[in-house]
């Protein structure tokens, strides 16, 4: 098992157990407010939780938390930016051609990295937040409604982009969405989150 979440409990929810293989994309659904984001926050060790999360057999609690989060990262539904310029958030890649190519694959303006953050639309922020998370080449990618701010065309671009990224870099992906059709397209199986556990969705 690549990513293994074992009896994870937080707040008054859980226990949640599931596994995701390397290069697999699993869909996650559940009614609003059930705690999908909190589950992601628990997996990335942003909130205290019972149980344990393993990556390739190594427990989260045995890892340095900053290293854990660069391997097991999450792209929140609402992105945050702190520098004035978009490009300043991409330290590792700098202004590399690959990053610019990826921008275009997602339908972003090629010059977007030189823009001021204040100029970005919600959808642009969302796509750039994905690229920002990918610069660490995470082993586990937790996507929290990654296309909620996008139109159908750009949603399609993003689905294709993530699919290609998954084939190339083989991360384990958990994709939260309220759109069953989308989850059918992007994932092989879908988990449904309830107060007391996760269930295979049919």
């Amino acid at each position: 098992m690549y990513l293994f979440v074992e009896h994870l409990t937080f707040l008054d929810k859980g226990p949640y157990s599931f596994a995701v293989e390397k290069g697999e994309c699993v869909g996650l659904t559940g009614r609003s407010g059930i705690g999908k984001t909190q589950l992601f926050r628990a997996i990335t060790d942003l909130i205290p939780a019972g149980g344990e999360v393993f990556l390739e057999g190594i427990a989260c609690s045995a890892c340095n938390p900053t290293q854990w989060r660069s391997k097991v990262t999450m792209v929140p539904a609402d992105s945050h930016w702190w520098h004035d310029k978009v490009g300043d958030h991409f330290v590792e890649f700098g202004q590399s051609p690959l990053l610019r190519d990826n921008c275009e694959l997602l339908g972003l303006d090629a010059a977007v990295l030189d823009w001021q953050v204040s100029r970005l639309s919600t959808g642009e922020r969302q796509r750039l937040a994905l690229l920002r998370a990918l610069q660490m080449t995470p082993a586990v990618l937790l996507l929290d409604e990654p296309s909620s701010g996008l139109d159908a065309y750009h949603t399609g671009l993003m689905e294709v982009f993530i699919e290609q990224y998954r084939r190339l870099n083989k991360p384990a992906i958990v994709w939260v969405s309220h759109d069953p059709e989308q989850l059918k397209r992007v994932s092989a199986r879908v988990l449904r989150m309830e107060q007391n556990g996760l269930y295979q969705s049919t």
Partner: protein
Amino acid sequence: MDVVSLSSVDLAIAASLLVLLSLLSMLLSLGLERKILFFGGRMTAQLLVIGLVLRFLFADGSLLLVLLMSTVMLLAAGREVQARQKRKIVGLSGYLISISAMFVSSFSVTVLALLVIIRVEPWYTPQYAIPLLGMLLGNTMTGIALAMDRMTDQLYGRRGEVEQRLLLGQTWQEASRDIRSDCMRTGMMPIINAMAAAGLVSLPGMMTGQILGGTPPVEAVKYQILIMFLIAAGTGFGVVSAIWMSGWRLFDERHRLRLDVLDVERA
């Protein structure tokens, strides 16, 4: 030059101004008349009591009593810093942070000044130690309270940004760097502004008091300069240590932002 001693009648005349003010407040229906009279009276009582305490302390002059008095002052200052915050760190650790920061800003600086600069014999002579400590406590408190208040407020308001940075594999120190330096600047700005205005816009209270008390102006000014330096340095060190300690409390060993240590109900 002898000091003109103030009689009770003199003070009563000044107090009548306050009565006049409360009458005005009533006329304008500001609703402040009770407060003006109450706090005016309370201030009088507080200062009279402290006058008596100081008279006793100066006559006795023992190290034990001086230490006792300074500890009480320090604890009161720590409590005041805590009370001025909107979202404070709950429990004992919040008080400990405030008290430790005030200790750094005032206690240590006062001892240093007594031992190295003023070199009065013995170093704890209450006529020097107590006013100096009081001056430092009172003046560094504002900066420290401001910095700590801003720290918790900013971390609360910008938690999304901080957590996003943690998610990108940053340590808590990196993730909160902008906020922490912003808070340190906020805490130090008032004293820097006070230094800029001293003598030009405002005549500092201590110097004015000494001059009224008959000290030659240049002597009074020298003391004021000393005090300004001590306050500025104390504020700076106190603010830095307060922010540093708050950081350790607000993030845990797993580099998580722990806003659950904040008391947000009253915010």
